[in-house]
């Protein structure tokens, strides 16, 4: 089979039910080879359920998933050898030290001593070199997270899923991790990221799917997603004693230290109109900034109650 032309991940009408609860309601999308893909959504959206199905930890009620053309059920061995998953939970085996655990993990995937230099490189890159012979149970949470990342990458999978890899970790590890993932991505690895830190997704991912209540609410390139918002934000600092006219009060999203932020619908509220209203009210503008919506604004817009994708 020529895997060069295939999607890295193909998710086809995947449903998952737990009794009457439908965690996934027929989710379908593809992730291209070499993409840095973001899978976002609020808690309970179905992200982890979908990742569990891809990883083989959970079985779909209906639908199929394939990794580089290999079905994760009927051809599970090939699919799993092509996939590395960093689980969300901080799990570890207390009986082993770091290097033994990585060698065991490599062996599960059919790899032997030929990956030991790669293990050494990962220990170096993830700042685990000094912890090589430390027992896993003796490591801090951040160190355990690094080991989990190394475990997922030990068999050099062409597709990597990171399920909230930076949850609860310090800035240093985030930087280390993202530098490492950027390198891997540059060498052709497909990376799928779920995170609640939306600025990370905005910075790293070229395409994003937003999942909510078991459905795909949006699936676009990051730039298209950012550009689809009909809003922009205007921050104003008014002069001493100046008040915002009543007509603009409904547009206020935040007010802090005298700085007022207005959410303007581009078609309905031209900036010029805001300035005219302020001038007519006799308000003096001391400072002004505009801000384009970021991923967090889009995310909130798409996942709020009653939102239409």
């Amino acid at each position: 089979m020529n895997t060069q032309t295939l999607d890295a991940l193909k998710i086809d009408a995947v449903r998952k039910s737990y009794g009457s609860l439908q965690a996934l309601k027929g989710v379908s999308f593809n992730i291209n080879r070499g993409e840095f893909f973001g899978l976002l959504g609020p808690n309970g959206a179905g992200k982890s359920t979908l990742i569990s199905i891809i990883a083989g930890l959970s079985r779909a009620t209906a639908g199929h998933v394939s990794v580089l053309g290999h079905d994760t059920v009927s051809d599970f061995r090939a699919a799993r050898r092509l996939l590395g998953v960093v689980p969300q939970e901080l799990v570890f085996d207390p009986f082993f030290n770091v290097v033994d655990m990585l060698r065991i993990q490599a062996g599960y995937y059919g790899c032997g001593e030929e990956v030991w230099p790669w293990i050494d490189e990962m220990l170096e890159r993830l700042d685990l070199k000094d912890k090589r012979h430390s027992m896993l149970r003796a490591l801090s949470g951040g160190m355990k997270r690094r080991v989990l990342i190394a475990q997922a990458l030990v068999h050099k999978p062409p597709v990597v899923i990171l399920d909230e890899p930076t949850a609860g970790v310090d800035v240093e590890l985030r930087r280390t991790l993202w530098a490492f993932m950027r390198d891997l991505h540059a060498k052709g690895t497909t990376v799928v990221l779920t995170t609640h830190y939306l600025e990370e997704a905005q910075e790293m991912c070229s395409r994003i799917a937003i999942l909510d209540k078991g459905e795909v609410k949006a699936l676009e390139t990051t730039s298209a997603l950012l550009g689809r918002s009909p809003f922009r934000f205007l921050r104003l600092k008014l002069g001493e004693g100046a008040a915002l006219p009543d007509g603009l009060r409904t547009l206020v999203t935040s007010e802090k230290d005298g700085v007022i932020e207005l959410k303007l619908e581009t078609a309905k509220h031209p900036i010029n109109g805001v300035f005219t209203a302020l001038r007519n009210a006799g308000a003096v503008i001391e400072d002004v900034h505009t801000r384009e919506p970021d991923l967090e604004d889009i995310f909130i817009e798409l996942t709020r109650e009653g939102a239409v994708a």
């Binding site: 990883a55 062996g107 995937y109």
Partner: protein, 256 residues
């Protein structure tokens, strides 16, 4: 070695390394416990004649039963404790996400349990043979009974480990099934010394055939013919192995 074989070998090695890391708890402790049984019972019942075992004193009679009882308990403990620990700690995901099929999983866990059971058995025999003379009548039968019995209990441990969701449930399985059935399997007595009901009930206990068959390997005679013991043990092995394999294949209580 192809990738599937390497996956199997690694899982086997990991399971052996797991109990090896706590050898004092997994091998030394059960050997010492069994030797204490031997010391106490042999002292208390010294000179007792065992019905149907002419020329064999009670201490000699006791040793094979104690070895098999320890094998039974440790083969079960190895697989059941490994699985429940992995499930409770959450690290079972590493095996679940790996390209390891149910047959490799089953084989690796059974073989690792056999290694532990063999270590326990050899350690016990090595120590007791310093004090007790044991003939070796049928080494092949001895080996077959040992392998089948330990593999059966390892498979039962897989069933218990997959079924249980907390340590209490494994303890209940051990305390209310494995320990009573192994104690009442004729380790300390010949079933011919039992009255009608208990005599017949003993013949429904698969552990009885394991102990009796193992004893045959040493002495050349036992409470029931060796063929009957082998038939029972093989049947029980196939039954529990089939269930354990099905549970691994379906991901019972592992893959949601």
């Amino acid at each position: 070695m192809n990738p599937n074989q390497r996956g199997f070998y690694t899982l086997l090695k990991k399971e052996v390394m797991r109990f090896w890391a706590v050898l004092g708890q997994t091998v030394s402790a059960p050997v010492i416990t069994a030797l204490l049984y031997l010391l106490v019972f042999a002292q208390a019942l010294k000179g007792r004649v065992v019905a149907g075992y002419d020329g064999i004193d009670y201490t000699q009679f006791l040793v094979p039963g104690l070895v098999m009882m320890t094998v039974i308990q440790n083969a079960f403990a190895n697989t059941s404790s490994s699985l429940i620990q992995s499930k409770v700690m959450g690290n079972i995901v590493f095996t679940l996400m790996a390209p390891i099929g149910p047959l490799e999983w089953f084989g690796a866990y059974i073989l690792a349990a056999l290694v532990r059971a063999a270590l326990v058995a050899v350690a016990m025999l090595a120590v007791t043979m310093l004090f007790v003379h044991l003939p070796l009548h049928a080494p092949l039968a001895l080996l077959v009974v040992f392998l089948l019995s330990a593999a059966t209990l390892a498979a039962l441990g897989i069933i218990a480990g997959l079924w249980a969701q907390k340590f209490d449930q494994i303890a209940a399985f051990t305390n209310f099934l494995i320990t009573p059935a192994s104690f009442l399997s004729g380790v300390f007595y010949s079933v011919h010394s039992l009255s009608g009901f208990w005599f017949h009930l003993s013949h429904l206990n698969p552990f009885f055939y394991m102990v009796d068959g193992f004893r045959y390997g040493f002495f050349g005679h036992a409470d029931v013919p060796i063929a009957q013991s082998l038939l029972w043990i093989t049947g029980f092995f196939l039954l529990v192995s089939g269930i354990a394999y099905w549970m691994l294949h379906t991901g019972y209580r592992m893959r949601k």
